[in-house]
């Protein structure tokens, strides 16, 4: 949720810069498109982290049970 808010804030900053004439429309468009890629990286990283957390939980249970893998 926080990552999404960050992306929204960044998009607003781009819009303001474009409206202030600091960027061409083409540049503005490309930067907004990059936000989608950034969002994608955030998604993959959070998926990997949830895998890691799941692994830690499982290892914790295995350790507690005294089973040797």
């Amino acid at each position: 949720m926080s990552a999404l808010r960050d992306l929204a804030d960044t998009a607003t900053a781009y819009k303001n810069q474009y409206e202030a004439g600091l960027m061409t429309f083409e540049e503005f468009q490309e930067l907004v498109e990059d936000l989608h890629i950034q969002d994608n990286i955030d998604r993959i990283s959070s998926e990997l982290e949830s895998d890691e957390r799941l692994h830690e939980v499982l290892m914790g249970v295995v350790k507690l049970s005294g089973i040797l893998l």
């Binding site: 960027m23 990059d34 950034q38 990286i41 993959i44 990997l48």
Partner: protein
């Protein structure tokens, strides 16, 4: 007669040397050495960190952008054929797309270029965070 005495002496010697503490100490030393080996992929981590740092401190010069592009290409290639590494490779590819867009642009505006370097740095930081936690 003499040989028999030697054998009985060596048997007696083994009786006095307790081998268990030696085995325990050896295991301790070996596991201790393991503590100093990173459990994440240091090459991946180094490459992502290099991209992030170059994007953070570097300017929009062609030389700097080319350096980032070269390291980004290395990262994509390095992550490609490692087993169970598809998500990292996908992230590396995504980052490379952004870097490539900047490199391809003929004369980028200052605002655009700064934003682009900021995106590269933020994305690389996110990848670095994940690579640092990911076991080898």
């Amino acid at each position: 007669m003499g040989q028999g005495t030697k054998e009985s002496q060596s048997i007696k010697l083994y009786q006095y040397i307790d081998i268990k503490p030696l085995v325990f100490i050896s295991m301790l030393i070996l596991s201790g050495c393991g503590l100093f080996v990173a459990n994440y992929d240091t090459t991946e981590y180094y490459l992502v960190n290099h991209i992030r740092t170059q994007a953070m401190i570097g300017n929009c010069s062609k030389e700097n952008v080319d350096t980032i592009y070269k390291t980004s290409t290395e990262l994509v290639n390095f992550t490609q054929y490692l087993p169970r590494n598809e998500p990292t490779h996908e992230m590396a590819q995504n980052l490379h797309i952004i870097v490539d867009e900047l490199r391809k642009r003929e004369s980028p505006g200052v605002t655009y270029c700064k934003n682009k370097l900021n995106i590269i740095s933020t994305s690389a930081e996110e990848i670095q965070r994940v690579v640092g936690k990911k076991p080898k």
